[in-house]
Symmetry: C2
Subunit: 180 residues, 2 copies
């Protein structure tokens, strides 16, 4: 029993990637108001690619919404595909790599106070560099191969500031026995 009641809902804004809906609600404390929720149209997939040597592949790209570069694990929208299919596609497009072994690490929700944005997180191992990809079209300026300890250092210093990347690294670290 959530205590929330929804009386009406409308689409306040939409484009190809997001839909913003505004609900008229009664809150658990009995007060009434509106709740605006940003829905990401397709669940995202996040991939933590890890080499035999325990290095992590990261990409550098400019993020328009925050107006700055960001170092991140490969990710993208599932575009209606099965999450694993989308993950294979995104890894190839963003890094030129394929992976022999895929492990589903879990599902996380981002910004759950104002958004419905879920992501399926995968560990990709047994990497092979097939070349190619579409880094330029995706706005990716660099693909980095970073030792695990250096990745943690980049989180600590804020060089990695993408919250989803940090949470994916936690899930990967737990699965790989490098955390916990």
């Amino acid at each position: 029993m959530s205590g929330w009641q929804t009386h009406a809902t409308r689409t306040a804004y939409e484009n190809a990637w997001i839909r913003v809906r505004e609900d008229e609600v009664t809150r658990p404390d009995g007060s009434t108001g509106v709740y605006g929720v940003t829905e990401v149209r397709h669940p995202a997939v996040f991939i933590v690619p890890v080499t035999e040597e325990g290095e992590v592949l990261l990409i550098r790209l400019f993020r328009y919404p925050i107006g700055r570069d960001s170092l991140e694990v490969p990710a993208g929208g599932s575009d209606g595909q099965e999450p694993l299919v989308a993950a294979r596609r995104e890894l190839r497009e963003e890094t030129g790599r394929t992976a022999a072994t895929w492990t589903h690490l879990g599902r996380v929700f981002s910004l759950n106070g104002v958004a419905d944005a879920r992501a399926e997180v995968f560990l990709a191992q047994g990497l092979a560099d097939e070349g190619g990809g579409s880094q330029a079209e995706e706005g990716i300026s660099e693909v980095l191969t970073v030792p695990w300890d250096d990745v943690l250092g980049m989180v600590r210093t804020g060089a990695i500031h993408d919250s989803e990347t940090v949470s994916c690294l936690m899930l990967a670290g737990l699965a790989l026995g490098r955390i916990g």
Copy 2:
């Protein structure tokens, strides 16, 4: 040089907590289109409260946008306050605790492909239970005190699925020497 150009911007939706703007853009590849960005009006603050014994305080609350309960570290909007002032307030409101020692762990950005949502992350130690708070008004059904190893287990199993909470735990683990 980001390669993006913004030609026009308009407010597509707004309420007390978020503003959605739609920009007309030229992308780095020269194509034109729109970019919808959800802006969180006030930067968020996240607090990782850790006891002398290394336990973490978590709250359980129902998250309307995703329609389910979530286990999270205390957090909230800064509402125009200095981040540390807001963090003290949120910790007190959501858990009834004060903290003697505050450490700024860093800043993370959530959902940076579609949102401008930054959060300042703090470690709170030297906790004292002053009682009170406004858990019910905040929709908080439970305040849990969880040993660090159990917190990691909850991340691993998905019992904790809030992406920001997972990333804040990573930052806290690094600062406390429990990770890395």
